[in-house]
């Protein structure tokens, strides 16, 4: 199947007097229609620049971006405005107009496109119902909670039936409860409307809860990309590991410092069925070693289960080596903690 979004050799440099800063280096990836695609990275990694390029707010230095049938990096003026009307965007700080009510904010993109008033009314009422804000239609944004503001932002972004929705840290300014609600809404929209969603975030929760695929970006490069369950169950790049550890409140590093000759620490990664098998019991039975469980974490993604277990192995060197071989044979990925 033809990918809906196709990005090829995208790069972006910023020039400051004589210095060149490359914010994006050779970015390539595809997003399928109906997919929720997450771009994750720390601040300054380049994810904002990437989303700004995808949404046409920033011109890339080189490379191509296809969205639907348009190659958007070459669009200007009228064709560019037409493209922008086919996509929706929501923002971290909502960017609503303070001079307009909820109703008028949602009507704004329709007015800009000269939609007849009776159709505007019909569509806005529909959208208000969709995001659950019919009772607030005459309120001004300053009277709304963050979650409500983002709902208005979503309704506004959907007004012109976009093919893709860009989310720029859409939940970063919200509390956990509102974040959950907004993510739930986005998921529903994806399922009911088949809406393709491309989002950037530094919150791993967001990726875990709604994304099908994730790209981890670091220093302007995509360092890891794939289905969320693959990337999070077998993280390779330090940035991804860092995110995982932050999100599960991993043990402080000092604990691992008391290394002896007869033990070492392991972090085991589980995924899907292997997360449910009694690996630890088998280790203890088969190899005469003791396994001291220090920390465990398991998480349900939309399509699978992933988890990690941090353990201390205690036993003879030979037995420990055998144990590691057994783990490998059982398909459990592990990492020795230094």
């Amino acid at each position: 199947m033809q990918p809906f979004v196709h990005i090829e050799k995208l790069s972006k440099n910023f020039y400051k007097k004589t210095e060149v800063f490359s914010a994006l280096k050779d970015i390539n990836f595809d997003v399928a229609k109906g997919e929720i695609f997450g771009i994750m990275g720390q601040s300054g990694a380049g994810k904002s620049t990437l989303l700004r390029c995808l949404s046409s707010l920033e011109k890339p230095s080189s490379g191509k971006i296809w969205i639907g049938s348009d190659e958007i990096t070459s669009l200007k003026d009228h064709p560019l405005r037409l493209f922008r009307k086919r996509v929706g965007m929501i923002f971290q700080h909502f960017n609503l107009l303070a001079s307009r009510t909820v109703y008028e904010n949602i009507a704004f993109p329709l007015q800009l496109s000269d939609v007849p008033p009776e159709e505007i009314k019909k569509r806005v009422d529909e959208l208000l119902y969709l995001v659950g804000l019919s009772h607030k239609k005459d309120s001004y944004p300053s009277r709304l909670s963050g979650g409500e503001k983002q709902r208005v932002g979503i309704a506004r972004a959907l007004a012109l039936h976009p093919e893709v929705l860009f989310c720029d840290e859409a939940t970063s300014a919200l509390d956990p409860k509102m974040t959950k609600e907004i993510l739930q809404l986005l998921k529903e929209l994806n399922q009911t409307l088949g809406l393709t969603i491309i989002l950037i975030t530094h919150q791993m929760e967001v990726i875990k809860q709604i994304c099908h695929k994730v790209a981890v970006i670091d220093k302007g490069e995509i360092v890891e990309i794939g289905p969320v369950s693959d990337v999070f169950s077998q993280p390779i790049h330090p940035t991804t590991k860092h995110f995982l550890q932050n999100s599960i409140h991993e043990l402080p590093a000092e604990i691992f410092k008391k290394h002896g000759n007869d033990k070492h620490f392991l972090r085991l990664y589980f995924r899907g069925t292997s997360a449910k098998e009694p690996i630890i019991t088998q280790l203890i039975k088969k190899f005469d070693i003791s396994v001291n469980i220090l920390f465990g974490w398991i998480d349900a993604l939309p399509d699978t289960t992933i988890g990690t277990l941090t353990v201390e192995l205690d036993g003879t060197e030979e037995n420990r080596k055998k144990a590691l071989v057994f783990l490998e044979e059982s398909g459990v990925r592990y990492e020795v903690i230094q």
Binding site: R84, M89, L112, L160
Partner: protein
Amino acid sequence: MTPENISLALDLLPPALFDTLYMVVASSFFALLIGLPLGIILHVTAKGQIKENTAVYKSLGMIVNIGRSFPFAILMIALIPVTRLIVGTSLGTTAAIVPLSIAAAPFFARIVEQSLRDVDRAVIEASQMMGATDSQIIVEVLLKEPLPSLVSGFSSMVINLVGYSAMAGLVGGGGLGKVAIQYGYNQFNVFLMISTVVLLILVVECIQWISTKVVLHMQKKRGLISHE
């Protein structure tokens, strides 16, 4: 305070007040007409804005600065030929409107520029993402979002014009300023002098009161301050 003084005041002050209001209203109108587009152009051509154009911004900025740095009395005299060309005479109430408008326009242009600059760049980008054209952004976003601050800036300009219009009395303009100079200053009529000043204060108070009401109403409507 003698009876003669009072009857003189009753004869002179009402038409003078009317002349002052006429000058202020007319020149505010023309200053708005010139200053608003000037302010918009200044804003959109500034660095990082939607129609960034350094050459236009710098040259227009220079003209505005020159206009603002002229002392009003000098500007009035310098503009006599222009006033003659437009009004046919450089004397009288109507003639004063020309220099008053030209003095106030650059001031208002800067006020407009400042108000528009307060509109969050991200809100403009959000509008661009909805496919808004530049003119739609100017009308729907840049002018409507900071409306309260535009209104209070406009009233500052009107109040300035009340002061300027009194000064216009020095050089053949009409209104309360003329009464203050002719009767109050030249003929040492303290009563008339004080009366004109009090009237001018009342005019300024009125303008301020209306402006505050309008701005508060807009802010309340937007939920920016709570309803009592």
